[in-house]
Point group: C2
Chain length 210, copies 2
DNA sequence: ACGCCATCTGTCGTTCACTGACAGATTTTC
DNA sequence: GAAAATCTGTCAGTGAACGACAGATGGCGT
């Protein structure tokens, strides 16, 4: 009754969990940023938040999982953005805009942008994070394919095309991110992704040299 | 001196190493097949070959690496097959035939086929192997992109298209393999891959439902 | 306000992947 | 055959991850 009703919709316990989770992520990124991923131990992260390392593993399945938590979040945002696209757009075009919109949103916020860059650094320089990131992406491919199938109005188990589109789109995004980190740090990722998807739209069975 | 010259081109030490390596792979697959990947310890693999576990790690960087050694070999074979394709073929078409040819070769040999199926089982059911496999594939993407660039007669660092083609082709192959394992076990992987690449050739920016 | 129950957390102990250092064995080379 | 290079085993250690148990804490009915 009365003032006990929380302003938001969740109990005290749930809020505490969210705080712990957020604190673990922040502490982890602090340490990853200064000492590097492999040099940082789970114990150090846990001590910084004053919880036991056992508790860390109740929030995250592995040390890698905390590093890619932002990437996972971005996938969910792409799903949202995809549903917001007009239904008459061809699938790759819709995916292109959805991805670019999400990336632009991150570029506009200073904090988001630097955290995003930090994650990409981890993915690029720590094999374990890279591996986990790739694994997570393929996990998400099912969901993405399902949504693409809905857009196409076809059955996602019978028709191989939605899975193919989802995988290819994910590959294009990875190429764009990698180009950004390695070759074109001055460009915006969103622009690189935009161009990569544009190439997909145009078809990629290029003729041989001549 | 005299009869010390080896029949083949390598010394005794080198042959011994090859034998140990092969024995480790075989012992590992035996154990993975019966006990599963995570239930098998490196000690068990090493004991089966009568070497120390320390030696195992001098041959393989990780327990996962021994599981995907065949996949790595297949990549090298695709490179070979790609060079054998006529130079007038468009890139995706050439990749399609190269991949399908390699897969068909594995399907024809009984032993190769079952070992291939075993590896795919490991990749599908053991997250750690899956992650390492994906990581290895992205490592190989550089080399594949380089070869695609040569075929296109363009510069692989300036032009983003070769990287895109390589990534997309790899994605298509992964989709085909996955479809084989999960939905169409009765089909041949080579046929599924063939169809996936055919879709790529035709373009994938499908219209929305209507 | 009180207590019951579900859930969360810490502690302890264990397994196992992986690595550096050193010493001994073996192959190669001269 | 001796010296140099390479391979291997042993030892010791780190750190990730998990199972089990006990204590703490928030949720909830009365």
């Amino acid at each position: 009754m009365s003032p006990n009703t929380t302003v938001e919709g969740m109990g005290l316990r749930e809020r505490k969990k969210q705080r712990t989770r957020k604190a673990l992520i922040e502490a982890a990124f602090d340490l990853f940023g200064t000492k590097g991923f492999e040099a940082t131990t789970v114990d150090e992260i846990s001590e910084a938040v004053e919880v036991s390392s056992r508790t860390f593993f109740r929030y995250f399945g592995s040390k890698e999982d905390v590093a890619i938590s932002i990437q996972l979040q971005q996938f969910l945002e792409v799903y949202q953005a995809l549903e917001a696209r007009p239904t008459h757009e061809p699938v790759v075009t819709a995916l292109r805009h959805a991805v670019v919109d999400v990336l632009r949103a991150y570029e506009e916020d200073e904090a988001d942008a630097s955290q995003f860059a930090c994650v990409m650094d981890l993915v690029q320089h720590s094999p374990a994070v890279m591996a986990r990131s790739l694994e997570m992406c393929t996990e998400q491919l099912d969901e993405l394919a399902r949504r693409v199938a809905v857009r196409m109005g076809v059955d996602p188990v019978t028709d191989p095309r939605p899975k193919l589109v989802a995988s290819v789109a994910s590959a294009a995004l990875q190429v764009a991110v990698r180009a950004w980190r390695e070759d074109e740090p001055d460009e915006k990722v969103s622009d690189l992704a935009d161009r990569a998807f544009a190439l997909l739209e145009a078809g990629i069975n290029y003729p041989a040299a001549g």
